[in-house]
């Protein structure tokens, strides 16, 4: 089994408080790995640590994060910037906030491509339209020229996913990608993710929704209060949860 991302004993502090304590897990190449836990369990802190975009005050005390066998913690600012968006990219929970309201969807996607590739303007436009079509946004040229507030919630989330995909990253971190959508839209976004997995995309899915995770993920890591309490293949854990907390989580979403 090839692992794209390996987190070893990651510990994050804010002041004297420990947010993550010796968190270790691996994300297999071409699979969906889910981080599951209640709010405050440190899921998003892990995502921000991987991107090296922790809010001020939060510090990584020790640990290592191997991405393609290179420790991200040893990267300097500029190296890290070139990783973001191009090698690892992120899908945010709230797409309305994550898009700049003054720029069209096309302009914002173009910005990402312009940063990471040296393609010409018309090549970039073609790529953007391709990716918009790939996330099943019909009439991609129409979407290209829209401002974020002019799209529906589902369209915005797809546009967000398209933006994350536009520079062909190796790893996608999806932070609660469906929690703001209604159930039918959730199902369609999950279909989209399944489709991407078939194409070999590696994904780190962050969710509090064990029900959704059980349908989508290959591996699951259960977090509680900043510690990994259980991890393994999704079927194994769903059939025989060892930890009490996991059992409670499962009951909540049964």
């Amino acid at each position: 089994m090839k692992y794209l991302l390996e987190i070893n004993k990651l510990t994050v502090h804010v002041g004297h408080k420990t947010l993550l304590h010796n968190v270790s897990f691996k994300a297999a190449q071409g699979k969906i790995t889910a981080l599951v836990g209640a709010s405050g369990s440190g899921k998003t802190t892990i995502a921000n640590s991987i991107m090296r975009l922790l809010p001020t005050g939060l510090e990584i005390n020790h640990g290592e994060m191997l991405f393609e066998h290179k420790n991200l913690l040893l990267f300097n600012k500029e190296q890290m910037r070139l990783v973001r968006g191009a090698r690892i990219s992120m899908i945010f929970q709230e797409p309305l906030g994550a898009f700049n309201p003054l720029m069209t969807i096309g302009q914002q996607m173009d910005e990402v491509l312009a940063v990471h590739t040296d393609k010409l303007k018309n090549e970039r436009n073609k790529k953007i339209l391709d990716v918009l079509a790939k996330v099943e946004l019909l009439d991609s040229e129409h979407i290209f020229n829209r401002y974020p507030h002019q799209l529906s919630g589902g369209q915005r989330q797809r546009a967000m996913i398209a933006q994350a995909l536009v520079a062909d990253p190796k790893l996608i971190i999806a932070d609660e990608p469906t929690s703001n959508l209604d159930v039918t839209l959730q199902a369609r976004i999950m279909d989209l993710f399944r489709h991407f997995r078939k194409e070999g995309m590696t994904m780190l899915l962050i969710s509090h929704d064990l029900g959704m995770v059980s349908h989508l993920a290959d591996d699951v890591i259960i977090l509680e209060k900043g510690q990994v309490i259980e991890s393994g293949q999704v079927q194994t854990i769903m059939q025989a949860p060892k930890h009490k907390y996991t059992q409670r989580l499962m009951e909540a979403f049964a």
């Binding site: 973001r84 990219s89 003054l102 020229n145 520079a167």
Partner: protein
């Protein structure tokens, strides 16, 4: 102003989607709202006229700015005559003869014997009269230079100084404010202390101090540039502080984090994601700041520290009007003041209208 809007100035706004189904940007919507403000539109046209006059001063003015004739010192305005002894004729001006009245004041009497017909396209200029006749539409100054011509030429300096000054101080203010707010920490502290150093000295005295550091042997272009730079150095600090505050709150927004997560560089985030959000404020502020540059230049020039004679600016032309005697006997030398006034008022009204237009609370009617 924002509370009780002049609704009678508002025409209904058309549909908010442009041709080819492309939506209007926030900017173009604001511009459409601005354009419905009738008074602001009038002011806009007035300014366009003033700038056009300044640009084409070479052609519109009958004399060069330094074309002097000491025989006509403080000569009053020359009326253009259309009737010659009761008969309609081609417009002409009478000659003037200098006499002294009972209190030994200069008085220019019309000399009916001399007639100088108005010549159109005379010597590369729109109009003029043959020598030794002179045409003074708004009278002459102490050296017998045509005030009208000098106002047109003076507009070049007075009207451009605001634009150039604002360009410099706003680029500085936006960039420094944006950087300080975005990065925070010691960068912020350092830049803000720097701003405070500029803000702490009373503006006009700082201008005077900086001006005295400029060598005397500068030519007029160098003096002009120095005055602009000095005025801009005063202006950027307060703007930088406000932009810094906005940037401080904008950097917390999700789309800034999202851009970082997409690997966009810091300077690009500041320019493309932070500063455009301050546009509504800064555009109005630009319009409201331009007058202060015009007035600043005028203030310096009135004291003789700005643009040097014979190159005219509205400010140094006004410096002639500092004596009560001159105002009493040649009140026309205050006309440049009227131009300063009109310009300042126009910029202020446009600035106000822009601020309203960008106000998100503005109700789009119709």
């Amino acid at each position: 102003m924002a509370k009780n809007r002049p609704t009678e100035n508002l025409r209904p706004l058309g549909p908010l989607v442009g041709r080819e189904g492309k939506p209007y940007s926030q900017f173009s919507i604001a511009m459409a709202i601005f354009w419905r403000h009738r008074l602001a539109r009038v002011c806009f046209y007035v300014l366009v006229c003033l700038y056009a006059c300044a640009i084409f001063a070479n052609f519109l003015a009958p004399y060069r700015f330094d074309d002097e004739d000491r025989n006509y010192s403080y000569c009053s305005a020359t009326a253009i005559q259309f009737f010659d002894r009761g008969h309609l004729s081609w417009p002409f001006v009478y000659g003037r003869t200098l006499t002294f009245n009972s209190i030994h004041r200069r008085e220019y009497l019309l000399d009916m014997a001399q007639k100088y017909p108005l010549r159109l396209f005379y010597g590369g200029r729109l109009f003029g009269v043959d020598k030794p006749g002179r045409i003074y539409i708004w009278g002459a100054d102490s050296r017998g230079r045509d005030l009208f011509s000098r106002i047109l030429y003076g507009g070049r300096i007075s009207l451009s100084i605001g634009l150039v000054g604002v360009l410099i101080s706003f680029s500085l203010g936006l960039l420094i404010g944006g950087i300080a707010g975005y990065f925070g920490g010691w960068v912020d502290s350092f830049l803000m202390r720097l701003c405070e150093m500029f803000m702490l000295a009373p503006g006009f005295y700082l201008i005077l101090a900086l001006r005295s550091a400029v060598p005397d042997n500068f030519n007029s272009l160098q003096v002009y540039l120095m005055v602009v730079v000095i005025l801009s150095l005063i202006g950027w600090a307060s703007l930088a502080r406000i932009i810094r505050g906005m940037s401080l709150s904008l950097r917390q927004r999700d789309f800034v984090l999202a851009s970082k997560a997409m690997g966009v560089s810091d300077i690009k985030i500041i320019i493309k994601h932070i500063l455009p959000h301050t546009l509504s404020y800064s555009l109005a502020a630009i319009m409201l700041t331009i007058p202060s540059y015009i007035l600043g230049e005028a203030g310096l020039s009135v004291l003789g520290l700005g643009i040097q004679d014979p190159v005219p600016s509205w400010g140094n032309m006004l410096s002639e009007a500092m004596g009560i005697v001159q105002i009493q006997f040649a009140p026309w030398i205050m006309i440049p003041g009227i131009f300063i006034f009109i310009t300042v008022i126009c910029f202020n009204i446009i600035g106000d209208a822009l601020r309203d237009a960008f106000d998100p609370m503005f109700q789009v009617e119709g």
